[in-house]
């Protein structure tokens, strides 16, 4: 049984259809990259999987661990081990990063019938996880994302992921806007979390990230549909030829 199985997913926002029949199957331990031009529906796919309510699923199905994912509210998806790193992490003034994480982790542990962590346990656990993304101590105490630089916000997302220990990590353009040093830190963080018991869906606009996070599968999303799937060499081909290459092919009559 696959961990995530997206079948013929159609999604609409207000009156516009964004996803027009997406199929995707992710097995345990795999890393899938989804690439595509702006406006192709990459972020919509990520947000629908995480449970954003503004998006309306009009057709299709998503199975996660064999159960209907779309039935679950966002918090239950998180508690079942799904994590999405936001493209634009939200600033939450007045809520400290570290205490918020403790509340989140304990909500997840409670759901899994694990004992909640006390402050001491949590602190030593968090210190371990900080190393994953070279988080500075000061970013722990500050309000969630408030006044963080772009790079710090993205690193914080990976840090949240490390702490919450998901089964499926979805990265929504986590690399966009990062300089090479920040990109490497983020990629190293993800790589250190790779295991046989964890899968990733890495959504990106740029091939560069995939030099550092090497995927098992690459999919290209254009205009709400996956138009091409392949191995990591597909990403390189795209880098050489650009998305235009695939968009042009789409417009050609069938059989040419």
């Amino acid at each position: 049984m696959s961990l995530l199985h997206v079948k013929n997913l159609h999604v609409r926002v207000e009156e516009t259809e964004i996803l027009k029949g997406v199929d995707l199957e992710v097995n345990m331990g795999e890393v899938h990259a989804i690439m595509g031009p702006n406006g192709s529906g990459k972020s919509t796919l990520a947000q629908v999987l995480a449970g954003r309510e503004e998006y309306e699923v009009t057709e299709g199905q998503v199975l996660y661990k064999g159960q209907d994912l779309l039935e679950l509210p966002p918090e239950d998806r998180a508690r079942e081990g799904l994590f999405m790193a936001f493209q634009y992490p939200v600033e939450i003034p007045g809520v400290s990063n570290v205490y918020f994480l403790k509340a989140a982790l304990n909500a997840i542990r409670k759901h899994r019938e694990q004992e909640e962590m006390d402050a001491m346990e949590f602190l030593s656990y968090v210190r371990e996880k900080m190393k994953v993304v070279k988080m500075e101590e000061t970013l722990l105490q500050r309000p969630v994302n408030e006044g963080f630089s772009g790079g710090e916000k993205k690193r914080n997302e990976i840090f949240h992921m490390a702490v919450l220990d998901p089964v499926l990590g979805i990265l929504d353009e986590t690399d966009s806007g990062l300089d090479i040093d920040a990109l490497k830190i983020v990629a190293e963080g993800v790589n250190s979390l790779r295991s046989e018991k964890r899968s990733f869906v890495v959504i990106t606009h740029y091939q560069r990230l995939l030099n550092y996070i090497v995927p098992n599968h690459v999919h290209v999303l254009v205009d709400g549909k996956i138009v091409r799937s392949g191995g990591k060499e597909l990403a390189e081909e795209l880098e050489d030829k650009g998305y235009v290459w695939l968009e042009d092919k789409l417009e050609m009559p069938v059989g040419v």
Binding site: G51, V90, P93, G94, V95, A103, A104, A107
Partner: protein, 444 residues
């Protein structure tokens, strides 16, 4: 109708006459005169109606119509009943139903020369310190200030002498308790902080039981040159209590005054804050937080007057409204001719948690100088849905996510409270009030 209103007024005028007969002999003639003109003014004004601009959104008819007992006794409150209002490391002045209670107060450990006293008692012990100051809250256009001026019997007097730093906060606890009989009380507070002194004053209004009564305080504060006063007001009275308060502030040169007005109690609460910055280099910070639910109404009427050049004022009022509650914020900044280099900033932000809650926010600038910086802004909005989604995507339940963001909205003010026990008190209130407060407690 006219007759009915006349009767409402007459009750107060009669009470004035009764009081005049029994009043303390040591009251200075000046005050007796002030009382007479105040009650005369009240007879002219009557109670305000919603036809008056300043009272457009706040209908005080329930106060005007109520047959309050106008001379309540300071009934037998026991020390144990004060537990919720006490803070560690503070000195405490306790007022019950407007009257000073020496037995419940704890005024130990104050530096030499500092006076913390019941007002009535202070008239005999320190008349020379009170007389020059008491009564500068004008009642010409304000019925409730007129009523307080005419009818106050007791209250508090604080005097911080020149250069003295009072480390421990002075906690003024005003409690109301009815014995089944609704009453009105008119506590009068005077705080005189002399040149270069420093002090912290907490002014609390609370209830014992769910009493139906009316508190109508007037607090006058004089901040001398180069003096610092940090003031906190906590409105935590019962939901059936009425509260119409006036805070009159006079600041001299280079003085620094800050106030945080926290309001979660009372059924109808009106705060008039009138600040006059009357010396160059004075700075006033007037912040507030109100949280109302049910059919509560809270009305903050701010008037900040820049009378001299180079003064700064900052106002930040935030409000959280649930159910059918209502909030009014009226912020007037008045810059006198010649008050150049004024820097005045005013912000009011309201968070509506229910479709039926209403916030009226009304900034008003009157500027008669030409080299000033005055800004104002007001917002009325709901919780950020994207923020809620972000929290939920990390495993926090929806209700807890809403509470967390609500807390975060308030945290801005909470974090500015410098007295730890006051801040904790407010935090605890928020954890109790907000659904899933235990998650919030863990997350902040």
């Amino acid at each position: 109708m006219t007759t009915a209103i006349a009767t409402e007024k007459e009750r107060y005028v009669e009470a004035f006459e009764r009081l005049a007969a029994s009043r303390a002999e040591h009251e200075p003639g000046k005050i007796t005169e002030l009382r007479r003109s105040a009650i005369a003014r009240f007879e002219d004004l009557g109670f305000p109606t919603t036809r008056l601009e300043e009272w457009r959104f706040t209908n005080v008819a329930p106060i005007a119509k109520a047959a309050f007992d106008l001379s309540p006794s300071a009934n037998g409150v026991k020390a144990g009943e004060l537990a919720d209002f006490r803070y560690d490391g503070t000195c405490e002045l306790v007022l019950i139903n407007g009257r000073f209670s020496p037995e419940l107060s704890n005024l130990e450990g104050l530096p030499d020369g500092v006076v913390v006293s019941g007002l009535e008692a202070a008239w005999s012990s320190h008349p020379e310190k009170i007389e020059p100051h008491l009564g500068f809250a004008t009642f010409g256009e304000h019925s409730f200030v007129a009523l307080n001026t005419a009818l106050h019997r007791d209250g508090a007097f604080l005097f911080i002498p020149r250069g003295v730093v009072v480390e421990q906060p002075i906690n003024i606890i005003h409690l109301g308790r009815t014995d089944g009989k609704p009453f009105a009380c008119f506590p009068r507070l005077l705080i005189v902080a002399e040149e270069s002194s420093q002090s912290t004053v907490v002014e609390q209004y609370g209830s014992i039981g769910d009493g139906n009564y009316f508190t109508c305080p007037v607090t006058e504060v004089v901040v001398g040159a180069n003096a610092t006063v940090d003031h906190y007001k906590l409105q935590r009275e019962s939901i059936s209590a009425f509260h119409v308060a006036t805070f009159q502030l006079l600041q001299h040169r280079d003085s620094n005054f800050s106030s945080h007005s926290i309001s979660w109690g009372g059924g109808l609460v009106r705060n008039d804050v009138n600040a006059v910055l009357d010396g160059e280099g004075a700075e006033a910070t007037l912040n507030g937080l109100y949280m109302v639910e049910g059919t509560q109404l809270v009305d903050n009427h701010m008037r900040v007057e820049h009378a001299q050049p180079n003064c700064d004022s900052h106002e930040l009022f935030k409000g959280i409204l649930e159910d059918r509650s209502r909030a009014v914020f009226n912020g007037r900044i008045y810059v006198h001719r010649g008050a150049q280099k004024t820097d005045a900033k005013q912000t009011n932000r309201n968070l509506l948690l229910s479709k039926n809650a209403v916030a009226n926010s009304n900034p008003q600038l009157e500027i008669f100088a030409d080299d000033v910086k005055c800004t104002h802004g007001s917002t009325v909005g709901q919780l950020d849905e994207l923020g809620i989604f972000y929290l939920r995507s990390r495993g926090i339940g929806e209700e807890a996510a809403r509470s967390l963001l609500t807390y975060a909205f308030a945290a801005d003010i909470v974090e500015r409270i410098k007295v730890p026990s006051v801040r904790q008190d407010l935090e605890e209130f928020l954890f109790r009030r907000l659904p899933k407060g235990d998650v919030v407690r863990q997350a902040v």
